[in-house]
């Protein structure tokens, strides 16, 4: 981890400039389950992409390709909205 600033070297009131925040991966917040997809069932409706609160559904152009597990928090909304049950929640 980078060295932390002292109170004397911090910007006033901790103001953050663009790029000034570390790129924190948030997959550590996931609690037990992650989404898995059976691509043979997927109809590419992109409802999962639309509903994902963490923008963790990945596309290639307009085609569903999978999940960005660095940011997925395992909420299960994608599995819930999938109309063809292609997505299931599985243990980590």
């Amino acid at each position: 981890m980078a060295e932390l600033s002292t109170w004397e070297t911090l910007p006033v009131a901790g103001a953050v400039r663009p790029g000034g925040a570390p790129r924190t991966l948030t997959s550590g917040w996931r609690t037990g389950e992650k989404p898995a997809v059976d691509l043979s069932l997927c109809v590419n409706c992109l409802l999962c992409w639309l509903y994902c609160p963490d923008s963790a559904v990945e596309l290639s152009a307009e085609t569903f390709t999978g999940f960005d597990l660095d940011y997925c928090k395992g909420c299960g909304i994608c599995a819930d909205v999938c109309p063809v049950a292609a997505i299931t929640m599985v243990p980590e």
Binding site: W7, L10, A13, A15
Partner: protein
């Protein structure tokens, strides 16, 4: 030529606001602050100030809007009292932590309950540790002066904190007395242009402000804020010196009134110090060595200077216009800390809660008698 007018403290503050001409004033009316915003709104309506007045739905919103305006790059003022400050308190802490240089007039009024509209300092003391500067006026003139000085203190790059100008409800807000106003141009030059380091509407240099701070940074940011408030003491004296050059009136962190050779001194805040000065003069006429330390800056508290000023006194009595149930009243606690280890005999006395009068005879009794912890309270033993 000085422009001397018969004004209430509320009107005097409104005229200071007219002359400072802030960009934004988000405000919600409450007794006894209302004459401030009422007078100021009329001055704006009459075209004498160009301020955008935001009629918000509560004091919580007033301070929230003030933070947005101040950090967006606009000079911002507001005013409140008592329950309004209580409702606002959550956001006052945030204003201080976001280092928003908002100037606020506080018409001091007792907190409920029981509900009351008259003066004491319990509202100020509610936000004692919020990190804002609190300056107390003795009269309408000082309320005006401090309101002109306040933007300079708040906006100093070493400070960047809200500054409250506290004036006793009714005793100052509603009482008319001669007030000497500076020329408008002098005030404009004195306060200068407004600037904050990271104006959020500066799209060429955008920032995130008010970030979430976890255990790794919260402590550092709180310390940074405390350091700024400590520095405000030096800035106050610098601004007071500049203001004295302009006006001939000196409003520093405290005033020593006939204190040089005093053996007995009182310490107090606000309008009561005017009463105490009269009693000191009477006692001096009787060859009693009485004096007063009139505290102006309660936050930051000028601990070292106060201790030095009172060092030669045999007895010091502190008058608190707010109680701290189950503990030591706030001003008494500050003095006890400042005088710790000295030979000064210190007593503390609560007076004037909810607008209870403190008569010159009560003050005299504190100087000459055996004072009780509560002054002017029925059932307390007579002092003299």
């Amino acid at each position: 030529m000085s422009d001397i007018r018969l004004l209430t403290g509320g009107e005097a503050v409104a005229h200071a606001m007219r002359q400072v001409d802030p960009d934004v004033v988000p405000v919600y009316p409450i007794t006894p602050q209302t004459p401030i915003i009422q007078t100021f709104a009329k001055l704006v309506a009459d075209g004498q100030a160009s301020t955008e007045i935001v009629n918000v739905e509560s004091e919580h919103s007033a301070m929230s809007a003030a933070i947005g305006a101040a950090l967006a790059g606009g000079r911002t003022m507001t005013a409140t009292s008592s329950q309004g400050l209580a409702l606002m308190a959550e956001v006052v802490y945030i204003a201080a932590s976001m280092r928003a240089p908002i100037v606020m007039a506080l018409g001091n009024r007792a907190l409920s309950g029981p509900i009351n509209i008259h003066c004491d300092h319990s509202d100020s003391m509610l936000i004692r540790d919020s990190g804002v500067v609190q300056l107390f006026a003795e009269n309408a003139q000082e309320a005006y002066d401090l309101m002109v000085m306040a933007p300079r203190i708040a906006e100093d790059p070493r400070v960047l904190l809200p500054v409250l100008v506290c004036l006793d409800g009714f005793t100052i807000t509603h009482s008319a007395e001669p007030v000497s106003l500076l020329p408008d141009d002098d005030v404009t030059r004195f306060v200068g242009p407004y600037s904050v380091p990271n104006a959020v509407l500066d799209t060429t240099s955008p920032t995130t402000q008010g970030p979430f701070a976890m255990p790794d940074y919260y402590f550092e940011l709180r310390r940074q804020q405390a350091a700024a408030l400590e520095t405000a003491l030096d800035v106050l004296e610098e601004v007071a010196l500049d203001f004295e050059r302009l006006s001939g009136r000196r409003n520093g962190a405290f005033e020593s009134y006939r204190l040089e050779d005093a053996t007995r001194a009182l310490v107090a805040l606000g309008s009561t110090t005017g009463t105490i000065k009269d009693v000191v003069d009477e006692l001096r006429d009787e060859h009693e060595t009485a004096g007063l330390l009139k505290l102006v800056s309660f936050r930051p508290f000028p601990t070292a200077a106060v201790a030095a000023a009172l060092d030669e006194c045999a007895r010091v009595a502190v008058l608190d216009r707010a109680d701290s149930p189950g503990g030591t009243p706030p001003l008494h606690a500050e003095l006890a800390a400042a005088l710790y280890g000295s030979d000064v005999e210190l007593t503390g006395h609560v007076y004037g809660l909810g607008g209870r009068d403190l008569h010159p005879s009560d003050v005299r009794a504190v100087f000459t008698g055996t004072p009780t912890p509560y002054l002017g309270l029925r059932g307390e033993r007579c002092l003299a």
